[in-house]
Symmetry: C2
Subunit: 183 residues, 2 copies
Amino acid sequence: MAVDREHLLRSAAALLTRKSTATMDEVAKAAGISRATLHRQFAGRDVLVRALEDLGIQECEAALDAARLDEDTAGEAVRRLVREFEDAAGLLAFLYTENQLFEGEEQNAGWARIDARIAALFRRGQESGEFRIDLTPAWLTEALFGLCASGAWAVTEGRVAAKDFHYMIVELLLGGALRRDES
Amino acid sequence: MAVDREHLLRSAAALLTRKSTATMDEVAKAAGISRATLHRQFAGRDVLVRALEDLGIQECEAALDAARLDEDTAGEAVRRLVREFEDAAGLLAFLYTENQLFEGEEQNAGWARIDARIAALFRRGQESGEFRIDLTPAWLTEALFGLCASGAWAVTEGRVAAKDFHYMIVELLLGGALRRDES
DNA sequence: CCCACATGAGACACTGATGTCTCATGTGGG
DNA sequence: CCCACATGAGACATCAGTGTCTCATGTGGG
């Protein structure tokens, strides 16, 4: 009887990831419910997007926790983080562009927290001498999100195999395109 | 008298880069013309976006030409390419997300040409032993665009200094975050 | 068994953006 | 100087999406 709100959010996320301009009607149909019921759960499109944003933040923070950013080398922590991000990458990509849509508007404080935690990871790697210091933690954080989004799109469009998602992102982010002479 | 179509396109690109949901009215105002005149130039929003896409493709190909991808090492060519891309990065970022907006729809053939040229550059680097071979040219191409878009947004939001745009992208793309033990 | 309650279907008004049209204006070229 | 033509301003219809409402239905719990 009661609508499965969790399932509803997941299905909306899945649809909007593929087609970010989907209407409330399409979102409802995708979830197998009527527009009226959808509207009873989320008073409007913006409310739905906010809920998805909260979901995304929640998943991000769960990924950050699961990745245990303080353990091992920073590089290993980054590898774990990208792996944990993989499931949420589609949703992340949607929210990433959604955030570009509004100029000025203050963003959810959750992102700032998440940014700070990831930036701290890169800073740790720099302080330990593992990462280069000429790329700012803020940029590396931005690049991490950007590459995850690009990777998610590349996978949905078939330009990259889904199984390679993690490898391609981590290797590029950490090692770059140049061949390592040593190692 | 006659509207400067070139200037009109530029101003539309600049506005839509900042606010991709801008209305035709806003686009017209930003260009300092009336909505009626804008409509005489571009029969509809989709026509305008197509024109911007053509402009973006044109600038991309100009950048590819200017970067002389066949000369020097592939790494140097990539550096030149990113530098040439810098001016168009905002427009590129807009078009990059605009392309994600439509599922299925066939995309402008120009992008395929551009993708092919950039992928060929990465392939050249791999064949010369300069680039690692475990990252596919398709992915490196995708990542190049993704990083340019991320960089453009990071700059407009003040998270990265404009003067660092080129350095941050090239260094991350080529060298990655890890410190090089040698060199 | 029966009632309460959530749902589905659909009607309805409202809004914002769009596309089209008209008309007055003013400027540039002949 | 004068006319042609492009422009600006605005009215207008249209359309898609949204938000609200009503009502019939059917299912689950008491």
